[in-house]
Amino acid sequence: MVTLSRIIKYGVQAFLRNGWLSVSTISIMILAALVFEGLIIFNVVGKSAIQSIQDKIDISVYFKSNVAEDSILSIKRSLENLSEVKQVDYISREQALDNFKSRHENEDAITQALNELDSNPLLASLNIKAKDPHEYGTIADYLQNQNLKDQIEKVTYAQNQVVIERLIALIDTLKNTGITLTVFLSFLAIMVTFNTIRLAIFSNSDQIGIMRLVGASNKFIQGPYVVEGVLYGVISAIISFVILIPIVGFLSPYINNFIPEMSLSSYFNNSVWQLLLYQLAFCVGVGILSSSIAIRRYLRT
């Protein structure tokens, strides 16, 4: 206990007395922490952007007007049994008409034209969403192969295939870019922090030799540096988080323009503690790890 309290005392003392060295280490760590936070937010925004695109992709199967509702519903059930399918919605002819009317409520010409028809011109359809956008081709093939030709009027996949494929390519690129960027920038942030702490310890290497001569055991030498690492971590996590708050406030409306479903501010507000925890874990983790690794080479003689 005495040892631990002395180690903590030395760590805090060294942190305070190192002055500008602590300040510069913390500034570098703040930058690294901002990159790390940026990555978390980038991933969240990216995911909802991808989700929002994916939700817009679907295919619809329109049935000829003479096909009975029962057989459409049985096709629906068989589709629902496919592992690739996430959701199938049945839209009856009447519902299609209602939907159409409410969509064009204020357009008199269309309403009038509809009123002049004595029968419902719209077809019943199944609206299919896949779990993975890559599967739409498979689902479309399935519909083709089920001998349903005489019942199906059209499948929208054929006409939208190019758009869907482009969207899929876009989604894949987004995902890969996200992963690459995350791995690369995290690595960068960790390396920069590690080397900063290593330099700070290097500038103290003669002091380490002196401590050994006086009979300090390794834990007595290493401990205070680890404590310093923790202090660097905690302080830079908190400062970088405080810097992040106005940045999120500023960016949120812009992101909202691109992805209407996404509110960065409310995401941030809802997960403020979680984000702070990640941030602390990242900074303190990197701080402790860097100090412990960097000091090792001075403890061998």
């Binding site: 003392q13 002091q207 030799g209 401590m211 001569l213 009979g215 055991s217 390794n218 007595f220």
Partner: protein, 227 residues
Amino acid sequence: MIIFQNVSKVYTDSLVALDKVNFKVQSGEFVSVVGKSGAGKSTVVRLLIGEEKPTKGQIFFGSYEVNKLKTNELPEFRRHVGVIFQDFRLLAKKTVFENVSFALEVSGRPQKEINEFVPQVLEMVGLKEKTKSFPTELSGGERQRVAIARAMINRPDLIIADEPTGNLDPLNTWEVIKILTKINELGSTVILATHDKEVINTLGQRVITLENGQVIKDEANGRFLIG
């Protein structure tokens, strides 16, 4: 008791620092190790505190066989030995008080003891008024006295001083030698490596003379005779 038994230290074929060195030092002795630069004085010091290992031979200090100590056994061993260097080797970011108390803290002594011992020792070396100063705020002589206070705070059986007066003016040199003599009178063995002729000749104690890594003279009341 300290025993150097057939100790050789070879860095490369052309650089033999010590060549079959033999000597014994009884506890309570004050022994000077003299010789020109490169004669092997500092190697003797480094081997004795376990900073380096001999190429051949054995070194004993009390119950320790120093050449066989493992890295993790060195800290405990070094608490029995106080070392003083020409360049003082103080912890720059710690005050005078903290530099001295550090040696006690690392050996786990209770705070009460530290608060009692450190001022006593600092008073003995004449630095009672400077406890809160940092090393950069002290003169060379004062820094060396801090180093001496640190070396003796653990009441070690052995004090090793490697050219302790090399960076000091004559006045401070005599201050340091006086303190070392006092420590010796209080019971610690003192080994002083130096090439200061006047110091040796005034001390009138045992002198081991090294030349090219070999002991060429070992006299009970020695004088400094080399160039």
